[in-house]
């Protein structure tokens, strides 16, 4: 009896084992290749293949790494923690060789943990490099961090974050550090770094090499289906274009002018246009193209017009009804200007304005009730308007985030023959000054200023943004020194870039040369007139801020009304497109929001007062669009 029970128990066990083996083999059978045919293996192997999680799909297989992972017998986490501690200790005690060796071991234990590669590469390039006094040593450590990222790429093929970091380190660390002059020089001559590449001497520029890595990161996303985690597409897709502009800017600073510089900026323009054409996923889950702003605005405008025609005065009717629904207090509040509204009522005020802002969607809803025969068409127009309007709004916001308009204008501005020549003249003047050839320096400077004037007049957006202006202030300060060395009594009071000096000389390098009674009086008068018109000055006291004064009619209404400027007019330079409207936005006098805008817009706005509140189009926009 006992023997029999024991026998059956064993049979049961064997049966259970066999029964378990079948699903297990279906689950975990490895993929294989027999007689030239690929076998996909079990479920897990298939999943691994589908999601590209096998080591071979992730990147190179390193026997050392695999051995180390196995040798830790499941204590990989502990081993890594100890190694991190060690690395920190070596860093503290300045034992750089062992520090670097620890990083290598950490990376081998966790080859697919991207943050490790990113963190330690940054640690090496940014933190360790500055421990050294000799810039040659510093450069070597910057490169070691970059090489570490390249090692990471071997284990993590096409990983966009590592590709992007490579672009960033090569372009920004080398091109923006205090030692950038030396770093850039060393980078060009770095035989080992460029070993195996077919780059020409010109292409061995850190900005261009960085650009190619940025592009690789974008390609990994677009062409190889990888995901860029933690970086918005708006930002990382702008990097190749920005690198090209930084390249063009850098070579000009280093004294490369003429065709080479022009070509660099032409390429930058093309890159920026390409960027503007890229389809970018927004946080609202729809895609936009930055170059489509005008088109989307025109579309919205067209639908609004059609809706107006269809509804026959429905906008005014609904608005009148809503006004009638308001209590006397609410009506009084709604009629106030924003600056007159007490802080505690701002929310209520904004809500009222939102209610009184009649959109085609509101009109479509009303038509559905009042004129059912027009409902289908009204609904269609309402939806189309809504879609076009929100896309235009999103494009505008995104453009502001990366200062799209400025860089678009800048790349066009830099290609102007006047700008190219002006830059070359200023550079040569600086060199003449260094060599104490003061007369030549003066002559060259004085040839350059009118050219700068002409370029800046053509692109007021550039003039008012400040970046170029600040660069010019330094040059003007050098010019001043030349004049002083030549014992010229007075700085020319009719200096063509006087407005630039007065507007942007925050450090007071040159401004004092224009201080004279007449000017002071003018400044005072100008200041008081600005105050009168409700314009405040910013803390630096240079740029007028948007005032936030509310206009009688609603900007949305204005923008949507048939009387608003048509896109054709914007493009022909007769006026700029009205600001997009965001719900609950604080509305400005000029129909814009109080978000900080380029000074050019503000100045233009002031100039455009009285012409339907629509400022004239800056010339830069026009040219860049062309």
């Amino acid at each position: 009896m006992n023997e029999s029970r024991s026998f059956w128990r064993k049979v049961t066990y064997v049966g259970a084992i066999v029964a378990l083996l079948i699903p297990m083999s279906m689950l975990s059978m490895p993929a294989s290749r027999s007689e030239g045919k690929a076998q996909s293996g079990g479920k897990l192997a298939k999943l691994r293949q589908d999601y590209k999680l096998g080591q071979a799909s992730l990147g190179e297989i390193d026997p050392a790494s695999e051995t180390m992972k196995l040798a830790t017998l499941g204590m990989r986490g502990l081993a890594v923690t100890i190694l991190w501690e060690q690395a920190n200790y070596y860093k503290k005690t300045e034992n750089w060789t062992n520090f670097q060796a620890s990083l290598k071991q950490i990376a081998r234990l966790q080859p697919n943990f991207i943050s490790v590669w990113q963190y330690q590469a940054w640690n090496t390039s940014y933190n360790l490099s500055v421990e050294f006094d000799d810039y040659n040593d510093r450069y070597k450590w910057v490169i070691r961090g970059i090489e570490f990222l390249k090692d990471g790429l071997r284990y993590n093929k096409d990983e966009p974050r590592l590709l992007w970091d490579l672009g960033w380190f090569i372009s920004q660390k080398i091109g923006r550090a205090d030692e950038r002059v030396q770093y850039r020089r060393l980078f060009k001559r770095d035989l080992d770094f460029h070993a195996g590449s077919n780059l020409s001497s010109e292409q061995k520029d850190n900005w261009l090499v960085g650009k190619s890595w940025f592009q690789e990161a974008i390609d990994a996303v677009d062409k190889r289906g990888k995901r860029m985690k933690g970086k918005p597409p708006l930002i990382y897709r702008s990097d190749p274009g920005m690198s090209q502009m930084n390249y063009a800017d850098s070579i000009q600073t280093e004294g490369v002018h003429g065709e080479l510089a022009k070509n660099a900026w032409t390429t930058a323009s093309k890159d920026w246009k390409k960027y503007g054409d890229e389809s970018i996923l927004t946080t609202w889950d729809f895609r936009i193209q930055l170059n489509n702003l005008e088109r989307k605005k025109a579309e919205a405008e067209g639908y609004l017009k059609q809706m107006n025609e269809l509804s026959r005065g429905m906008f005014d009717k609904i608005r009148a009804e809503r006004l009638a629904e308001l209590t006397p207090e609410e009506r009084e509040l709604s009629e106030k200007l924003i600056q007159d509204v007490p802080a505690e009522q701002v929310e209520e005020y904004n809500e009222l304005q939102s209610r009184l802002n009649i959109t085609p969607v509101n009109v479509a809803n009303r038509i559905e009730k009042d004129h059912p025969e027009l409902a289908i068409e009204a609904s269609r127009l309402g939806k189309l308007w809504y879609d076009a309007n929100r896309r235009a709004d999103a494009i505008e916001r995104y453009r502001e985030t990366i200062n799209f308009n400025y860089w678009k204008a800048r790349s066009a501005f830099e290609q102007m023959p006047e700008t190219l020549e002006a830059r070359e003249l200023v550079y040569k003047a600086g060199q003449a000054h260094e060599k104490q050839d003061l007369l030549l320096a003066r002559k060259l400077y004085e040839q350059a200023w009118p050219l700068w004037r002409k370029s800046l007049d053509e692109y007021p957006l550039i003039a008012n943004e400040g970046l170029i202006a600040e660069e010019l202030i330094e040059k003007i300060a050098n010019y001043r020194m030349v004049l002083e060395d030549l014992s010229v009594d007075q700085f020319p009071q009719d200096f063509v870039l006087r407005d630039i000096v007065e507007g942007f000389d925050r450090d007071g390098l040159v401004k004092d040369v224009f201080v004279e009674p007449a000017t002071k009086t003018e400044e005072k008068q100008s200041g008081s007139s600005q105050e009168k018109s409700g314009e405040a000055t910013n803390p630096e006291g240079k740029q007028p801020e948007a005032t936030g004064v509310r206009e009688e009619s609603q900007p949305a209404e204005k923008a949507n009304s048939p009387d608003a400027k048509s896109p054709e007019r914007f493009q022909s330079g007769e006026g700029s497109p009205p600001e997009p409207v965001e719900d609950n936005a604080v509305i400005s006098e000029k129909g814009g929001t109080t978000d900080e805008k380029p000074a050019a817009d503000k100045k233009s706005s002031a100039a455009g007062e009285g012409t339907e509140g629509v400022p004239p189009e800056p010339a830069a926009e026009k040219s860049a669009t062309e």
């Binding site: 750089w96 670097q100 810039y135 020089r185 001559r189 035989l191």
Partner: protein, 630 residues
């Protein structure tokens, strides 16, 4: 650069005299023996008194002590040697030499893990290979020593020994010596293998493209990166546009890239000269043929001095100032002030320096409080002074600091200087005038650039006479490993006389582990490490309170702190018994290319012998307790 955090004393000073704060090592040892002997005696008497009454206990204690005194002294070298051979045979029987096979396999795979692309490949290779050997040896010693006696006792094979006319102490001593002998043989084999591995793995050469070199030599130089002798970059910066267009002109002025590096060349037209230093070595070049690496493995023989400082106002200080670095090993002197670092060297005599002057090597850290000219190093100076007569030299040498680099300097024999109180500058002899009657000389370092800083430690400036043998230094490095092995064997055998194999293993492993962290333990005991003792740390761990947060005085915290006081008392006791294993680690010296002082080697050997002696005594009583070896 070797880091010496604690001053190394001459052997006999360490053994007998000690320092101002502590007495000689031998007195500590004797004190410990006395205290331990007394405590053991009292404890033994009390146990016997409880079991047999006070008078019988007194008699028993007397008899035990009398017999112990006799047996411990009347140790027979012949019997000990026989037992030693037995232990060796047992080790062989237990296939201890498998460790050697594992070691060879690990070395074979070593090239997977040890890359030569890092900044100092030789340093890293030596460091990792020797450290690996160290851990492997300790592991081997741990298993070998802890399981031997318990297995014999368990299998009763011990009776084949104890039934012979041997004493318990001889059994213990025989085991210890046998295991040490086995371990020493293994260590010697591993040492030899590791030496071959290290030398072979960094051995390399380069090639030179002769034609390109000759072509480029005939062209005017376009480099902007060449350095002057003083370490500063060539001021003749290249025309940027020129370099932009033609950045690779110097391609042919360097060697080929092998083993992740290349060298700049300093050759004449016949192709003779050197490939300049990269990754810590140079190559000689003859007729464009590059030789093997030189200076990769060194054993510099430094003569260290004693470092003091002067503040910015010229007042004597024991340390310089801190620039906020977390690691306070270095302290800094401010440039453009009277602040200086002064090294005082003893026993200076002209005969030791045949070149006529004093060769020194300087390893400086630079801290800039403003950027300044980044193409130039920070300016500094060196001068000498007679500490007795006050004779002060004029600045011997000004130089630009080379950060993180050993910078050799030479103080010539003939110097100009001024006697104190005199204004006239005269000519003086370095050894006759600047060395005091008791053989002392001061070397003063100053930073000359205002608001910039030099960071130094005592070992960062030394006199260098000759180079020692790297191979001998390598062996000395392994003496440290050997010392640690002996300590593990001693603890292993000691515990195995009383405990079963696995328990003895855990106990010994704990001792080793604590020994490696003894500096930290001491910090915990002295309160230097914040966060309290083990119980308080446990509360902090579970309540996720960080180390510096003040804990609320709840009942639990009060209890934990009270328990900590007891725990810390025992920890402190253990601290004095447990060896600090990290002290015996000489590997950094070898890896950094510095000769390990003989004093240090002898100190380690002495410590190892003292532990053997201690374990011999205590092990004797433990075995007697188990009624073996009667």
């Amino acid at each position: 650069m070797v880091v010496i955090e604690n001053e190394l004393l001459p052997y006999f000073t360490w053994l007998f005299k000690g320092t101002d704060e502590s007495m000689g090592a031998i007195w500590y040892f004797l004190l410990f023996v006395l205290i331990a002997g007394f405590v053991g005696l009292v404890f033994g008497y009390l146990v016997a008194a409880v079991r047999q009454g006070p008078i019988a206990a007194g008699d028993l204690t007397y008899r035990v002590m009398r017999r112990a005194a006799y047996e411990l002294v009347a140790v027979s070298p012949r019997r000990v040697w026989a037992l030693t051979k037995l232990a060796v045979q047992e080790s062989i029987r237990r296939r201890v030499f498998v460790v050697l096979g594992i070691y060879i396999a690990l070395l074979g795979l070593g090239s997977w893990f040890l890359n030569t692309e890092l900044a100092e490949p030789a340093r890293l290779q030596i460091d990792i290979v020797m450290t690996g050997t160290n851990y492997l040896m300790l592991l081997m010693a741990l298993f070998l020593s802890t399981f031997s006696l318990p297995t014999d006792i368990k299998n009763r094979t011990i009776y084949t020994v104890v039934t012979k006319p041997t004493y318990a102490g001889e059994i213990v001593l025989g085991r210890i010596l046998g295991f040490i002998l086995t371990g020493t043989f293994l260590l010697a084999a591993m040492g030899l293998l590791s030496y071959i591995f290290v030398v072979r793995s960094v051995s390399h050469t380069h090639t030179i493209d002769r034609e390109q070199f000759l072509v480029s030599s005939s062209q005017p130089a376009k480099t902007g990166e060449t350095k002057k002798e003083d370490g500063s970059a060539d001021e003749k910066a290249p025309d940027d546009r020129d370099s932009y267009v033609d950045a690779n002109t110097e391609v042919s002025q360097v060697t080929s890239r092998d083993m992740f590096h290349r060298h700049e060349l300093d050759l004449d037209e016949q192709g003779n000269g050197i490939a300049k230093s990269t990754k810590g070595h140079i190559h000689e070049v003859h007729n464009f043929e590059v030789g093997p690496p030189l200076d990769m493995f060194q054993a510099r023989v430094p003569k260290f001095g004693k470092l003091t400082f002067k503040s910015r106002t010229g007042q004597p200080e024991s340390r310089g100032i801190s620039v906020g670095s977390e690691w306070d090993y270095l302290s800094y002197i401010e440039g453009g002030t009277r602040a200086s670092a002064i090294w005082t060297f003893d026993n200076i005599n002209a005969a030791e320096y045949p070149d006529g002057g004093l060769p020194i090597e300087l390893y400086l850290r630079v801290y800039r409080s403003y950027k300044g000219n980044i193409e130039k190093g920070i300016l500094g100076s060196i001068s000498v002074r007679n500490p007795e007569s006050g004779l002060q030299s004029e600045i011997v040498q000004t130089f630009r600091a080379k950060d993180f680099e050993l910078d050799p300097k030479f103080i010539p024999r003939q110097l100009k200087g001024k006697r104190p109180g005199e204004t006239k500058v005269g000519d003086f002899d370095l050894f006759d005038d600047f060395v005091s009657s008791d053989g002392k000389i001061e070397i003063e370092l100053q930073c000359l650039d205002k608001a910039q800083y030099y960071g130094v430690a005592q070992a960062n400036l030394y006199l260098r006479s000759t180079n020692g043998s790297f191979e001998l230094n390598f062996i000395k490095g392994y003496v440290g490993v050997w010392t640690q092995m002996v300590l593990v064997i001693c603890f292993g055998v000691l515990f195995s006389t009383l405990l079963s194999g696995p328990v003895a293993l855990v106990a010994t492993a704990s001792c080793v582990l604590l020994g490696f962290f003894s500096s930290f333990l001491m910090d915990v005991v002295t309160g230097e490490a914040v966060g309290g003792g083990p119980f308080e740390a446990m509360i902090r761990t579970f309540s996720q309170a960080n180390l510096t947060v003040e804990l609320e005085q709840t009942a639990g915290v009060v209890v934990a702190k009270t328990l900590d006081k007891v725990a810390l008392f025992f920890m402190e006791m253990w601290f004095y018994i447990l060896p600090n294993f990290s002290v015996y680690n000489n590997i950094n010296w070898v890896a950094d290319g510095f000769n390990i002082p003989a004093d240090q080697v002898w100190q380690h050997i002495t410590v190892a012998l003292s532990y053997i002696f201690g374990v011999y005594i205590v092990g004797y009583f433990f075995l007697r307790l188990r009624e073996l070896g009667q």
